[in-house]
């Protein structure tokens, strides 16, 4: 009985570690960023000013077809007038190997505070956008997307 238990435990832990190993080798990520990295990246770009949630809409599909190419758009609620406009928008990831994704610079000549592109996402996460206004205030928005592995994973 004692023998059986220890064998069962060993097999389970072996399977778990094998499963874990498979999960790690199947992912192209070498090092994962964590929340601390994201905060540092945000601080590097925007200093210590408080960031308020709002005015920034991040749009991503609810499920990504493939993590290598996910359509992203960011819209900021702003008149984009000569004295009230969005200066820049930075996009961050809490889970990718690097927290920075991109930074975009606008002028009042933009007419619209909008940008869209395609990004890479290493797993299910919420992508965050931080906008700096012409008056120096900071606003943010975010959205979550599910990212799954392909069925026939070619490692």
């Amino acid at each position: 009985m004692k023998m059986d238990k220890s064998i069962t435990l060993n097999r389970r832990s072996l399977l778990l570690s094998a499963g874990g190993a498979i999960a790690i080798t199947s992912s192209p990520i070498l090092a994962m960023a964590d929340e601390a990295d994201l905060e540092r990246a945000r601080r590097d770009l925007f200093g210590d000013l408080p960031i308020r949630e709002g005015r920034v809409t991040v749009k991503l599909p609810p499920i990504a077809e493939n993590g290598y190419s996910v359509p992203l758009s960011v819209t900021v609620d702003s008149p984009m007038s000569a004295d009230d406009y969005v200066q820049r928008v930075a996009i961050f990831s809490p889970r990718n190997p690097l927290p920075n994704i991109a930074q975009f610079h606008f002028t009042p000549r933009a007419g619209k505070a909008f940008v869209s592109t395609r990004i890479r996402m290493s797993g299910t996460q919420s992508i965050q956008a931080v906008a700096e206004m012409s008056d120096g205030s900071l606003w943010s928005g975010s959205m979550q997307t599910l990212v799954t592995l392909a069925a026939c994973v070619v490692l």
Partner: protein
Amino acid sequence: MASIRLAVPETANQGDVIEIKALIQHEMESGFRRGSRGEAIPRDIITTFECTYNGKQIFSAEFYPAIAANPILTFHTIATENGTLVFTWRDQNGQIWSDEAAIEVT
């Protein structure tokens, strides 16, 4: 020579907010992938993009490895005058790609 595609309206009314798209062929090798023998594939990405309208910068961007391959951007500008929009991409090694499109503003 990387393929480049630009979408800029040929004509616009003055004051119109026009949509601009710029797409360039580039692998944007993230630097996080491994080859079939486990060797690290070095990073090789476009790092900056700039669009000017008659010489004045109207939009610019910094790219990190999480920008997808064959990067595309959609942004806007106000059609102010006849002229040329110049699009410039620069990679981490300083290599430059550039293309331009003319616009007629009435």
